[in-house]
Each structure stands twice: as C-alpha cells, then as structure tokens.
C-alpha cells in the first residue's frame, strides 16, 4: 500500500503540470487565433530568419 503514497502525488503532480501548461498557453495568447494556427502550418516559411 505504500506505493499509493508515492503514486497519488505523482498522478496529481502530472495533472497539475498539464493544468499549468494550459494556463500558460491561455495567458500567452495561444487561443487568440485557432483558425490561423491551424492554417499557418501549411505555409512555407523559408524566410524564417526575417
């Protein structure tokens, strides 16, 4: 049963990590333009250094 004491915090910690990542994405404007993000992957950006 001691394994539980280890696994539960790990499970919760990973979940919290995911939640934190989502909040970061939300704050940094990743959800501002979902359509554009989906389309942008199709663009050829040879001039990435511009």
């Amino acid at each position: 049963m001691t394994i539980l004491a280890f696994l539960i915090p790990v499970a919760l910690g990973l979940g919290l990590l995911g939640l934190a990542a989502f909040f970061w994405a939300l704050r940094s404007g990743q959800f501002d333009d979902p359509d554009g993000a989906a389309a942008r992957i199709l663009l050829d950006d040879e001039d990435d250094d511009a």
């Binding site: 939300l26 333009d33 979902p34 554009g36 389309a39 992957i41």
Partner: protein, 705 residues
C-alpha cells in the same frame, strides 16, 4: 516572418479588416504582400478575426496599406481604435472549464477506488484527498454559476444557475461533512462532473457567438469614412467623418462616397443614392442642390459645403429608427431560458418534497438531506445545459462552411419559426451594381471591344471598372493606346493607330449607358442594368416549397421594381421609405406572421431590425450587416432557403435533445427519490445523458446542404 516584435516608438500599429481571407494561402499572400511594401516592419494575420496587424513606419498611411492589399486581390478596411476590440465571451470560461475537468478526473479516479472496495483508513485518506482537490476547484470553477444565480436571486427571480449552484454547494458541503465524520459516501465527483459538463455547454455557446461575430466584425470594423477638406488658402486635408463640422467644404472625387450631408457649391455630377433610398437610377445634382451622406459621387469631382455631419445626417436618422426596432426584438426569450423557467421551480419543489417526505417517514435530518441533494444533482440540467448550445454550434459550423454566418443562437430559433419572407430589390434580389448589357458586348467587333477594355482600364469610374471587368472576363485583350487622358465627368479619350477613340458619357440616353466612339465608325451605346442574382428563381421556388410566402419591398421606383417582380413572379411594393418598410413588417407581425427580412442597404436597416429575423448579403452596407441576424457571403440567394432548412433541422434536434433529457429524468428521478441512487449510478447516468445529447446534435454536421 517578422512577427510580434516590440514596436519601437516611431512605428505605428494599424489593424486592417480583410474579410476575404479564408485559408493558409491567403494568409501567406497577405503577410508577404504587405512586407514587400517599403516601411512595413511586420504583418501578422489573425484568421479567426479576419484581420491583419501591421507595424509600419509613420510614412506609410492607411490608404497605402489598403492599396497594397487591393493590388494582390484583397479588399480591406482600416480599423482605427484597437482599444475597443470586442472581448471574447468564451475565453474567461476556459480556465474554469480546465480546472473543473482536471479536478473531476482526479476525484473520479479516487472515487472509483472507493466504489471498488477501499475500506477504513485508505478510504478516509482518499476522501480527504478528494476534498482537498474538490473544494478549491468548486469554489473557482463554480463562480460563473454562483455569480449569475446570485444576481437572479437578488432580483427575486430564478434561472438555470440557481438549482445548479444550490446542488453543487449542498453536495460539496454534505460531502465534506461525510469526510469529517468518516462516513461512506462523498459526492465531490458528482458536483465536479456537473460543473464540467455545464461549463462545456457554456463555452460552446459563447464560442458560437464569438466566431460569427468575428466574421461580421471583420466586415464592419472599418474606420469611420472621411473626406478631403478644403482649408483656407486651398490646402487639402483628409479628415475623419466625425471630425467634419457644418460649414466646412469637402472635395468629393468621382467614385467617392460623401461623409456628411451638404450642399454643392461648385461642380455638377450624378449621385448614386441606392444605398440610402434604394433608387437605382443616378440622381443629377448641380450647385445649390442638397446631397446626402452615404451617397456615391458618380461622374465628376464636386465641392460640397457641409450642412450637417455626424449624428445629424439622414444616415444617423436611419440608425435611430433601427435602434428602436432592435430593442423591441431583444425581448425574445430564448428556448433554453424558457425551459429553465419551467424547470428550475419544478426541480426545487421535487427535491424539497423528497427531503420532507423522508423526514416525515422517520429518516434522520442528515439522510433526508442527502437524498434531497441526490434528487437535485441527478435532475441537474446537465443534458439540458448542453441540449441547445451543442446543436447550435454544430449547425452554425455547418452553415459557416456554406458561407452563412449566424450572429447568435436565438437567430436560428427565430429563423426556424419564420413563415413570411420580404426581399429588398437592389443588392438583394439583384447584384446591386450596374453591369454592362451582355447583348451590347456580344455585338462589339473584336477590335472595338479591345479598345473599350483599354479605355475603361484607364478610369476609376464605377461604370468603367464594371465594363473592364466584364470584358476581361470574356477573355478580351486590351489594345495599345497612345495619349490617354481622362476628363472627369466626360470620359476617357485616346489615340489608337492614329485615330481618335473615346469612351464617354452619352449625349442623351435612357437609363445608364456609356458611348464608345471610334473615328470612322458609328458610335456604340453600351447600356447598363442591374441583374438578378444567379439562382434567384431557384431559391424563391425552394422557399415556396418550404411554405414561405415571399414578396418584394423596395425603395426603388415602380418601373425598376416591376421588372424584377415580373422576372421572379412575386408581388411587390415599390418606392417604400425605410419607415414604410418598418410599418409593413409591423402590420404583418400584428397579423400573426413571423417575418424574415432579406435586405442589404442602409434603407433596409430599420426593416431588418424590426423583422422577427433578418438576413443580409456579405456585400451589404455596414448598417445592413449590423442589423441582420445572419449574413451570407456567397453570391447566391440559395443561401436563404439553406439557412432556413438548417435552422429548422436545428430546432428539431434541440426538441429531441429536450425529450431525451426529459426521458432521462423520468427514469432517474424516481430512483433518486426512493434513495436508491449511489454516487456511481448518478455519475454514470449524468454522463450518459450528456453524451447522448452531444451525439444526437452531431447529426447536424450536414445540416446546411
């Protein structure tokens, strides 16, 4: 790709609305096209909002940006105030949804262990962990519901959020009590699941509104038009429409729209008033004649003394008429709210009766409360909360792909009820622009048409541009001309193979026409007419088959309306003012009809706002777009029957969803009242009913065919 760079102080940030963008190719073209212009530091497209943000040098003006985009084939309009961007309704709900979903999943994991037989200290530990996750999560993710419920209660009414809040708070509090007492049951998972599903419904609802708004905003979001003002000493200065004042003199070039009402002081021209009055024939005006804001100067530059600007123009008067009508329509109660109004008191009564019944039957206060809460949770409108938004989001997504934008969910409900259609003529049934007569173009010899194309391409006059477009579309090549000069108000003149050629205003002609003169050949008249939209007949036939009675109501003169009425076989009312259109709709509504108004112009604004539901083509005036509930982007009138069919299908699915939710309650509520519902059963039943509703709504994916 230079994007999101910090903008130095000497740069300006401009946002342009580009409604024509719809794919990755367009994004690339717009961004690259703008970057080629000198003085542009960065260009970043937002495809969702159909806008592009440009950071540029002070030397580059709005008009240069618009011209650059026009050169690569995109129509655009600058938006001035970046500060007043509409806030998204969905974004503030995303964080609560994420928290609720995270907490629900983790608590569910622990609960499943308890249900599968965890005992004693292990169970208590699981319950304590659940409480530690659930209580902060509920207090954070539940705020949208608590706030709305509190607002309703303070005003002495109830809404859907009241039973939700009571259910969630009571379930959490009782569960916590159980945990402290070391009891066997905790309801944290139920409360969190409920919040997750309901928040998902809210997010979908808000997303739909955001999405359609973004599209319409892109069309609408143009800076106030302005005018070139002649200052003392003849200095010319561009001023925004709201900076114009009575007494100023503005110089209006041919092909420009007036930004204010005024009187002509010098020059003579003809004005296209179709936007304001629906009248399609150009109206001539000479010095001393009044001209109105919003009308298009067709022939020659004129100087106009402003008599009224801003809020005093005829345009603003129409806006006031519209405002009054819109307020009338906002009284419409959405179907979800009507359901909630019936549902909330019923659920409360049921839960209270259950708790009381168990008390009277001799159960302890605690047990009676737990069963009462079980009833509240199991009846909580999970599926009901999803029933309407999911169906509407799926349907409006399908319609969006067909080029029909829905501005809000209640528009679909109102459209499904419509049984009477009124069409404006100019710009709605017809294309709204004068096109050269195809018969006259057919009659032109090859050399004459290539001369006409070459001449027309040298002018910005609307008639020339329409002619050039039509000839180019026929595969015609421009002839080589020399010595081209445009004489505003008269025409374009040039030399072709040593002979004089001209495309000019005819001496005398019925209706709108241009004269093509080639030395040594007879003068040819090319007539212009507004043409019916393609598929107009098919669309009207489909409407009739759907049981919609249609007719025309137009501000144009009787002769022009009669022609269209004959072509479409509809009854028509002509020369109707905006107020008369509004009265006609009021009469029909008083007669118990649900009126759909389809129109585009400024003059249709009040009628669009007064009708039960309204549609406008994407090329409509700002006012038309603002007032309409739905906007169709494709140049076919078939969008109207398609939208109605999709709306009716949506309402069918919504009713089915309500029936499914009700059926679920009929099964679940007696079990809950009897005290037989375990937390597991409640969670499973709740999720299942929600999933069925979602699955049923997904059938609408192909609704807009």
């Amino acid at each position: 790709m230079a994007t999101r760079a910090v903008v130095p102080a000497d740069l300006e940030q401009t946002q342009l609305a580009v409604p024509g963008m719809h794919c990755a190719g367009c994004m690339g073209k717009v961004e690259r096209g703008l970057l080629e212009l000198p003085g542009i530091v960065s260009a970043r497209v937002n495809l969702t909002a159909r806008t592009v943000n440009v950071a540029h040098d002070k030397s580059v003006g709005d008009r240069d940006l618009v011209a650059a985009l026009e050169a690569i084939g995109f129509e655009s309009k600058p938006r001035r105030d970046l500060s007043t961007q509409r806030v998204s309704a969905a974004r503030p709900l995303l964080a609560p949804l994420a928290v609720a979903a995270f907490a629900a999943m983790n608590v569910m994991l622990l609960s499943v262990s308890v249900w599968s037989g965890a005992q004693g200290a292990t169970r208590d530990m699981f319950h304590w962990i659940s409480a530690a996750i659930a209580i902060p999560a509920v207090s954070y993710a539940g705020r949208p519901f608590f706030a709305s419920a509190w607002k309703a209660l303070r005003r002495g009414t109830t809404n859907m959020d009241v039973p939700i809040s009571i259910g969630v708070v009571l379930a959490t509090a009782l569960s916590f009590y159980e945990v402290i007492e070391g009891g066997g049951h905790a309801w944290f998972d139920g409360a969190l699941m409920l919040l997750t599903f309901l928040l998902a419904g809210r997010v979908l609802d808000a997303m739909m509104r955001d999405r359609a708004r973004a599209g319409v905003d892109a069309l609408l979001g143009q800076a106030a038009r302005g005018a070139m003002v002649v200052g003392p000493g003849g200095a010319l200065e561009w001023r925004d429409a709201d900076a114009l004042a009575a007494g100023m003199t503005m110089r209006v070039a041919a092909g420009e729209r007036l930004a204010a009402d005024g009187t002509i002081v010098s020059g003579a021209s003809r004005f296209d008033q179709s936007l304001l009055t629906g009248e399609s024939a150009p109206v001539p005006a000479y010095p001393g004649d009044p001209v109105l804001a919003g009308t298009l100067n067709l022939d020659a530059p004129v100087d106009v003394t402003v008599t009224s600007a801003g809020g005093d123009t005829t345009l603003a008067e129409i806006a006031r008429l519209m405002d009054a009508s819109t307020q009338d329509r906002s009284k419409y109660v959405r179907i979800a709210d009507r359901a909630a109004r019936l549902y909330a008191p019923a659920v409360h009564t049921l839960a209270a009766v259950t708790a009381l019944g168990w008390l009277l039957a001799g159960a302890g206060l605690y047990k009676a409360l737990v069963i009462g809460v079980a009833v509240l949770i199991i009846t909580c409108p999970c599926a009901l909360g999803l029933a309407v938004p999911v169906a509407q989001v799926v349907a409006s997504g399908a319609m969006m792909r067909m080029g029909i934008m829905v501005k809000d969910g209640s528009a679909l409900e109102r459209l499904a009820q419509a049984d009477r259609a009124l069409f404006d003529k100019t710009g709605t049934l017809t294309m709204g622009e004068a096109l050269p007569d195809p018969a006259a173009l057919d009659a032109l010899p090859a050399d004459a048409s290539s001369i006409a194309l070459a001449l027309a391409s040298h002018s910005r006059h609307p008639l020339s541009r329409a002619l050039a477009k039509a000839l180019a579309a026929r595969g015609c090549r421009a002839a080589a001309l020399g010595n081209v000069r445009e004489d505003p108000g008269a025409g374009v003149f040039a030399i072709w193979r040593g002979e004089e050629v001209a495309l000019r205003r005819p001496e005398a002609a019925e209706g709108t026409a241009v004269a093509l003169e080639i030395a040594g050949q007879p003068t040819r008249l090319i007539g212009y007419a507004d043409r019916l939209r393609p598929d107009a007949a098919a669309a009207l036939a489909r409407l009739a088959a759907m049981g919609m009675e249609s007719s025309i109501v137009s501000g144009d003169n009787a002769a022009a309306v009669q022609e269209v009425a004959r072509a479409t076989g509809l009854t028509a009312q002509s020369a109707a003012t905006p107020a008369e259109k509004q009265h006609l709709i009021a009469r029909l509504k008083a007669g118990g009809r649900n009126v759909l108004m389809v129109g585009d112009g400024l003059n249709d604004g009040p009628a669009l706002a007064a009708a039960n539901v309204s549609m406008a083509p994407g090329a409509a005036s700002e006012v038309g777009l603002q007032a309409a509930d739905l906007v169709f982007m494709q140049d076919t009138l078939l969008s109207v029957p398609r939208a109605i069919a999709a709306a009716r299908a949506t309402m069918r699915v919504v009713r089915q969803n309500f029936a499914l939710a009700a059926a679920y309650n009929v099964v679940a509520v007696p079990l809950a009242m009897a005290g037989l519902v375990t937390p597991l059963l409640a969670a499973v039943a709740m999720s299942l009913s929600s999933l069925i509703v979602v699955g049923n709504s997904l059938r609408l994916v192909r609704a807009a065919k």
